[in-house]
Symmetry: C2
Subunit: 300 residues, 2 copies
């Protein structure tokens, strides 16, 4: 059955789909907490509620034009979740029908995904934002590791091969020093994040490939003057069991959250690039710290 | 004659030196305007008044340890002005004896230097600064091109081979778009900055070498976790007559202003690096825009 639904001046088609709350979300508005949050279906799609202010229209406009934008190189498009338009579905908070942006559910192929959501940049606002929004963002940028490290870990879960879940509380992730962030990223690629001395047994298999992906992104960010990605995250997903079982298994690196993407107006996104380079340094340092026993790959 | 002078709890030796106000300063506190500003002597030294708050002690501490710091690679030391200790000399504003940091006068070897002072980074303050200072800096960062471009041109003069001086007013340099900044940087390497269509005749000779220097700096900034250089500038100096006359003549690239350098605490200086990469993109684009007639060097 198809219905027509009008929201914020736009009309959306509505379809009856059976949806559920995602298990593996680590950051952002979470439907679990009773507020409106994303939903997933059984076919690998992720339904992100369209925000009813310019954040929603911004993100929708971004996805709508992204895949037909000739300025985006094809090797860069793989970093974005695929986009399946919009659909009006029942909101997770029980408030009734609400338009959602329909995206690829990045973790749908994993049984027990380990996920890190890392918000990139030492500034999460752009100059065109409202004074109130800038003030709020600036406060959070100063309270978290954003200004110090050029990124903050918004959320993270590490699922051990024998199902030890380690998911540090958001408060723990708030104000990380470089040393704290290093330890958390090392735990993320260890068999059990709950121990003080992480074994980093997955570091080489996961981070060698993650590093390649980040360096490919960096190369693009050094030249692209199309977008400034404010408050955008890098999502890293992998499955420990899969990595152990299959030689071809690799981590996935995606860019997510485009509600605050603005026109670059002729300059590169120096804010995102700086933060990305900072994250790259952490990943390189972790790889460089591995003993030869731990890695079968050459040190970078 | 040597005197001992106590300032801000520290004692300094005082020497009678004949000093004058520099002709070619483009940014910073300028002695010309009746306030305390830097002085130069005839032997190629630059006397920077020691600020009587932590900015002064910070900058002095930075220079004092810099040249004996084993963490700084030798190829990077060349980017810093050489340091000759402190001296108490008559302040430029007639207020009497005042301690000065004695540095290399970078422009002393040039008859008619063209100079650009480019403050790097999209944030000129660090989280340890006072609230009042952060507020002031943030306002200036938003009013200038700092946040948009990741740098601002604090001052610039271009001296033509037949003595046409072009020195845009600070107000002109305040809020540059990417297009404005591009035009100003192109004028900086043209025979006459006063015309609307800059000829870029010095672009190749000046910017090919500047680019090499910036890329060398970038390589270091991608890995160094020693300092965060807040509110630090890159100074580019060259002499048009010299460039025309001598095949070996090259532009000089220096880092200056270290009153707001802080401990990196384990993270790279993503703020400086991002701004540096933005400037590099401008220089590369100018070089890439040159016709084959204008450049005898291969395009980068």
């Amino acid at each position: 059955m198809l219905l027509l639904f009008v929201f914020n001046g736009h009309s959306f088609s509505s379809k009856m789909v059976k949806l559920k709350i995602p298990d593996h979300q680590v950051a952002g508005h979470q439907a679990k907490t009773g507020i409106i949050g994303p939903l997933i279906d059984d076919s690998g799609k992720f339904y992100k509620p369209l925000q009813d202010d310019e954040r929603g229209s911004n993100e929708l406009a971004f996805y709508t034009s992204l895949y037909s934008d000739p300025r985006i190189p094809s090797n860069i498009l793989k970093f974005f979740p695929s986009f399946h338009g919009t659909e009006v579905v029942d909101a997770s908070d029980g408030s009734g029908l609400h338009p959602h942006i329909v995206l690829e559910d990045i973790v749908s192929n994993y049984t027990n995904p380990s996920v890190a959501d890392i918000k990139i940049g030492s500034r999460t606002w752009h100059p065109q934002s409202s004074e109130d929004y800038i003030r709020k963002c600036l406060q959070k940028d100063r309270e978290t590791s954003t200004i110090k490290l050029g990124f903050r870990i918004s959320g993270l879960r590490s699922m051990g091969p024998t199902n030890q879940l380690w998911q540090p509380h958001r408060k723990v992730l708030m104000d990380l020093s470089a040393e704290d962030a290093m330890l958390i990223l090392r735990k993320f690629v260890s068999s059990d994040g709950n121990v003080d001395e992480p074994d980093c047994v997955f570091a080489s298999r996961v981070f060698v490939h993650v590093l390649e992906e980040l360096l490919e992104l960096k190369k693009w960010f050094e030249v692209q003057t199309i977008f400034h990605f404010c408050s955008c995250s890098i999502l890293v997903v992998y499955d420990k069991e899969e990595i152990e079982a299959k030689k071809s298994a690799r981590a996935v690196v995606k860019l997510i959250d485009f509600a605050h993407v603005v026109d670059a107006k002729g300059a590169i996104d120096h804010n995102f690039l700086g933060g990305l380079c900072s994250l790259i340094k952490f990943v390189k340092d972790i790889l460089a710290g591995l003993s030869d026993v731990e890695t079968s790959n050459p040190k970078p």
